[in-house]
Subunit: 400 residues, 2 copies
């Protein structure tokens, strides 16, 4: 059903090309999306920088047509107000980015912002990305790259990992195709409107992915052509929607390395597969491993083990969490270490990492998590504990 | 010329199978090798544990024959008293081992001792090891392993690096052979007496190495058969005589990984080359890289750059050193940082590393160097500055 509210979102998706820090700031302030859309359309000054950002497009009000077109394609527009919105993944990723840890994010700060809406065809995006790993790599894939990519996908799929990639020729295509053949789920993050297929060669593959409970997703409304800057922007979503990114084959300056930089900048686990040093095919992978910008992985087992180690809970912890009397008692061991390290005075994540002996990436991951549960708050680049309201340790005896 | 003194060393080489911590301790106390040899032969109690160590062999006095045999082979016995003795390399390596940093060294403590004498055929060992890198790997070498090993040797040889290896089939043989073909120098460290060729298949190769100014060297007197424990002991010498060890191809549990452990335990640069993850050939290399026990290298350029970075001096530093008014002024920047971090109270190398911001390996390397120049002393696992005798900073104005 096309509601006025959905049309407001569709309008914003059309006239504000994501990502937009200005639009995100307004939404974060609690401004209503319909009010923002109205203000853009009628040039109301309170939306500040968003006025300038929408100067050339604000009259392009085709929300009804866009929504009808996506419906005709069997798709939908999803927004932060939808249950299907991959909120956990996006909050973690862009929460980490906001902590300002990464050179890459500082360089591409304008892109270090979540999408404001996503156009989707296929399965439920939140479920698909709940346990997902991105496999990316060169378009000029070698026989070795094919074998490695397929080997890894074949290992991950039986453990219910969704394979995310960019739908490009080469490694991306091998990743998607192998996932389908193995009976797994796979998600394409596209750099163009969903009425288009890019590359055209993969049209049938994309249709099969959609029909087999996978998904194809994009920030761009129907009709948007793939352009160079959109590939780079799209790469951040590939990284943000997965718990880690693996480059299986990439020579020097491969675009896949850009996705890997995003992955690290978004606090995800950046991984690369080594290969023969007698050809140039794995040069990019080796460079990232050598610089310490990616962890070396040689198999799906290693990938799962690395991803499992980040913020994961064992069964006992999960059990205790489910039966916890209050939110503090419900914290996992590592969460508690981070929570206890925070006092009433704000501290930077790096200090917490030093005090707890956890890695910085894990600390930030847990802080973002605690934040989403209302237990800690962020003040700039620092974090502070939120006062416990009658939730003192061992507090089931009442009183207070 | 076969002197009595040389016969004493040859006798000790025969009846005390190296390495021997007890013999080293006596030599370090300044005991004369002829007196030690006499004491072994006549069972004098002052040599302590060495009595027990030589119980089954002390009557085996064939020094004259051993020396005649090595001369007949065109070889010689060298000792710490010879100019040709690779003192710098051995001091650094076993000085580092004595600092107790390495688990491997703690496990194989009995072997973490320099040789007391070396039997050599071929070129001058000190010159050959002044700039040397060890290339080792699996006997079951693949086509990829052959290519990688040859590529690296072909890069190193024109830069005057000597290639050291163990003379085994597979990677070792490719390393030696390629070095010869490229017109370079190569050294075989053997696990048996030099009258033998092991493996027999490489007899002609070893002869060619000797005839082309390379060398074959061993701790073992003529007639000693290659035995399993001697291969492991030999591996430490491969690592000690080179500035770094590279494993070019090694599957799980390859013996080459033992050499790599020695390399790290002796404060040398441990390196491994990645390879395809679709076969098991490079599993051992990947494991060491993943654990951080070896640095990943993909080319000879990278190897030279890593080795050049350890304790190297640039031309300006070398110039200043040559014209220095006193030993302190003659220190390189990094040496000065380490020296300045030491006070009158002994400190562990790890503290110095933290204070100077240098890697622990480099700090220990420099400490051993400063020690050999009489500027610092070791007390157990700690280091202390030796009082400057009239060599105060800027001290050319005299006074005291």
């Amino acid at each position: 059903m096309i509601t006025d509210r959905l049309k407001a979102w569709a309008y914003l998706s059309r006239v504000v090309e994501g990502p937009s820090a200005h639009l995100q700031a307004l939404l974060k302030q609690g401004r209503d999306p319909e009010a923002i859309a109205h203000a853009v359309k009628h040039r109301e000054p309170w939306i500040g920088d968003l006025l300038r950002e929408t100067l050339s497009r604000y009259e392009w009000d085709v929300a009804q047509q866009d929504l009808e077109q996506i419906l005709a394609l069997g798709g939908r527009l999803i927004t932060p107000e939808d249950r299907e919105w991959p909120a956990t993944e996006l909050d973690h990723a862009f929460g980490f980015a906001a902590s300002g840890m990464s050179d890459h994010v500082r360089t591409y700060q304008d892109d270090a912002v979540p999408p404001h809406a996503l156009w989707v065809r296929g399965g439920d995006l939140r479920s698909l990305t709940a346990q997902a790993v991105a496999l990316v790599g060169t378009r000029a894939v070698s026989q070795y790259g094919r074998e490695v990519t397929a080997l890894i996908v074949d290992n991950l799929v039986p453990h219910q990992w969704t394979i995310i990639s960019g739908g490009a020729l080469g490694v991306d295509t091998v990743a998607h195709t192998t996932a389908l053949r193995a009976g797994g789920s796979t998600v394409v993050v596209a750099a163009c409107g969903l009425d288009r297929s890019y590359p055209a060669h993969n049209r049938a593959l994309f249709e099969e992915i959609v029909s087999r409970s996978g998904a194809i997703v994009t920030e761009y409304p129907p009709g948007t052509p793939p352009q160079r800057h959109r590939f780079l922007t799209r790469n951040r979503l590939v990284a943000a929607l997965s718990q880690g990114t693996v480059v299986t084959e990439a020579a020097w300056r491969s675009g896949a390395l850009n996705t890997l930089s995003w992955c690290a900048g978004l606090g995800r686990v950046a991984m690369a597969v080594p290969g023969p040093v007698t050809t140039a095919g794995s040069l990019g992978c080796h460079e990232r491993i050598r610089n310490g910008h990616a962890q070396m992985v040689c198999s799906g087992d290693e990938i799962r083990s690395l991803l499992g180690a980040i913020g994961g809970m064992d069964a006992q912890e999960q059990y205790e969490l489910n039966f916890a009397a209050n939110p503090i008692q419900g914290l996992s061991r590592n969460e508690l270490r981070v929570y206890d390290a925070l006092g009433r005075h704000p501290r930077e994540a790096a200090e917490v990492a030093t005090e707890t002996g956890l890695t910085l990436a894990l600390v930030i991951h847990l802080l973002v998590d605690l934040n989403s549960r209302g237990l800690v708050a962020r003040e700039g680049v620092r974090w502070v504990r939120i006062a416990e309201q009658g939730a003192g340790a061992g507090g089931d005896t009442g009183g207070g």
